[in-house]
Symmetry: C2
Subunit: 391 residues, 2 copies
């Protein structure tokens, strides 16, 4: 087991009516004027934004609205938020939404305490000078950003999408009411489930040997997600199923599922280039295509790890044919994503062979010449993995 540090100070408020505590809990922590940031109009139409604003007002906390955060959130709106924070003396950032809104809020909270351009952090990975405290009302279980230190931001001008994270960026409070997810469209639910599952895969497959305490915890989450996913898709208003998925999504990316391991994250790197190429590609859908392709390309580095995964998570009984057994685990993974309605090829995402060379330069800029842990990948390896994923 590798040495590690773990710190996750987020106060999680989980359950029915959690969002009603926003005002009191922020006021108790000294919030005076909040940047209230969200995505499209669905949170407004559902009445959620109104309820959150009413809760803030009742507690005597002022707020400034900043809507319009898009999927694959862009640095432009982050800069707008930073300017508002500085001009208006904002002391907390409150994100109402899913991973994109939370990631955008994290970047905004970072930029608000920095004199230069907030993109610097994503470019140079320099340490933050400070971060405004962040609170979250989660509406989409997927990215795990409500409990994680990470954020991923796109820069359209540069054609880049890259991540940055520090423990200081973990939300101070996360309000998680599973009822808020009842109305999520099936595709978005499924893409979120794929995303959280892939956060476990990235941590499970690396170049460290078995770490039973972490691996068993990781696979317990995989099993939970596999069992609960069909329940939420068939019965979107099943509170318990939604609650299991919502809490699992946080645990998948908080960090515990990778403690003592190196983790991999090559596939997330490969996927980020897809959504940098075409921002309409949902992250989870891109991962559903790229993970099985990555698995096919790398499994022979350590097929036993795949056999262990297949046995524990999918109940596959090893036949003794190592390659076949590893492949069965890969097939089961692809079939699971397909069962959620996720795509299985780049073709379905509108990405074709001629696009591969467009992605390599930014992949190199984001990940370096060699990336990944389970297998060290070069740009040539990346090309081959994209090719496997084509159709």
């Amino acid at each position: 087991m590798e040495n590690f540090e773990f710190v996750s100070p987020t106060h999680f408020v989980f359950g029915k009516a959690a969002e009603e505590k926003v005002g009191p809990m922020l006021a108790e922590r000294g919030a005076k004027k909040v940047l209230l940031t969200f995505g499209g109009q669905s949170a407004r139409k559902s009445g959620l934004i109104d309820r959150v604003e009413a809760s803030l007002s009742a507690a005597g906390v002022e707020y400034v609205e900043l809507g319009g955060v898009r999927a694959n959130p862009e640095i432009g709106l982050v800069r707008e938020g930073v300017a508002i924070c500085k001009e208006q003396g904002i002391d907390w950032v409150l994100a109402v939404g899913g991973g994109s809104v939370i990631d955008s809020a994290k970047a905004t909270a970072l930029g608000a305490c920095y004199d230069g351009d907030v993109w610097d952090f994503y470019e140079t990975k320099q340490d933050p000078e400070g971060v405004l405290p962040i609170a979250v009302v989660l509406t989409i279980p997927a990215a795990g950003s409500e409990g994680s230190k990470n954020s991923v931001i796109s820069n359209d001008e540069l054609g880049r999408k890259t991540g940055y994270g520090r423990n200081e960026m973990r939300p101070k409070i996360a309000f998680m009411n599973p009822e808020l997810t009842f109305t999520l469209p099936a595709y978005q639910t499924a893409a979120g489930i794929t995303d959280m599952y892939c956060h476990l895969l990235e941590r499970f497959f690396d170049d460290v040997g078995n770490v039973p305490v972490t691996d068993n915890l990781n696979m317990s989450l995989m099993k939970t997600i596999r069992a609960e996913a069909p329940r939420v898709l068939v019965d979107p208003e099943n509170y318990d199923a939604r609650a299991n998925i919502m809490w699992a999504g946080m645990l998948c990316h908080q960090g515990l599922a990778g403690m003592g391991r190196h983790e991999d994250w090559a596939t997330h790197g490969l996927e980020h280039e897809l959504s940098a190429l075409n921002t309409s590609i949902t992250h989870g859908a891109g991962l559903a295509v790229m993970f099985p392709a990555w698995m096919e390309y790398v499994y022979s580095e350590n097929p036993q790890r795949f056999i262990q995964y297949g046995a524990e998570v999918f109940g596959l009984v090893p036949t003794g044919d190592v390659d076949a057994d590893a492949y069965n685990a890969i097939d089961a993974t692809r079939a699971f994503f397909a069962s959620l309605g996720m795509p299985t090829t780049l073709d379905e995402l509108g990405v074709h062979e001629e696009d591969i060379e467009k992605m390599i330069p930014t992949l190199r800029a984001n990940k370096g010449e060699v990336f990944g842990s389970f297998m060290k990948l070069t740009m040539d390896d990346a090309r081959e993995i994209y090719k496997i994923a084509l159709d």
Copy 2:
């Protein structure tokens, strides 16, 4: 799933040489003068206390020593520590040891910020007025106090042993170096493993239905402990096995293994009376006797829960005979504890039938007339469970 809140802000520093970071990390957080508290002389003889003191001195942090914390830590030494804190302007409490030393440190940190007698909190469960920040160098994986909000303190004068916990009492930093546990005697290792396993059982068996995300996480820890326990007993200097046990011990009691559940804690209540009766009874050994007895008495409330546990953790194949299947899970639990060298009867602990009536009044004082969740227990039920445990 029940509504819940979860906050665990402890900064965990895990791995080889973790204790060398004590001085720098406390200094970074503004510590000036630390109460350094520990148990017997083993930590001194091993050189650990010297290393910790050298680390503090090198970082310019002063310290005052308070050794002699016993197993089942007593309020008398806590009061001594409180007096030192107040007289000497102590600003951090640093515990070097296992659960007893950490629990004593928690109580001391609580009393240092209170004008009255610190036992008040254990008696009335009133909210704290403040808590000095606590750091921990863990030497015995067992109680999970390094990550938990709880503390259990004995009061010899009153013949009481009772718990008190608030999130503010969670340690700010926990230094966890598995190498420090290489020299733990086998009995203490085994009692610690029993204790952490019972923290999972207390959370798994209650009156809430299945909570898959929590239950699977909980049972993943049970499986890890079952597999790693024989490895550390056979090969005490196996770093990875010790590391898995140490990190699992924290996770068993941090809270995640019970989120969304009511939890039970009747058996801990029954055990506390044993060690209040005879302070030489190790908590884990008392639990090893009491948990199977409790299980036998209560299982018929929900035998399916026992069958689920037996199948998942021990791989037991249900026969269809509900009582027999539930009993098999209970027998497997008792056999697991016995395989660690733990006692299976009160007789082995020197507790006999005539002692039962001595324990009932303090049990009533600590737990009330009715306690437990899986089954609501009266004092008569408690008598019966003690009787089952006798021999």
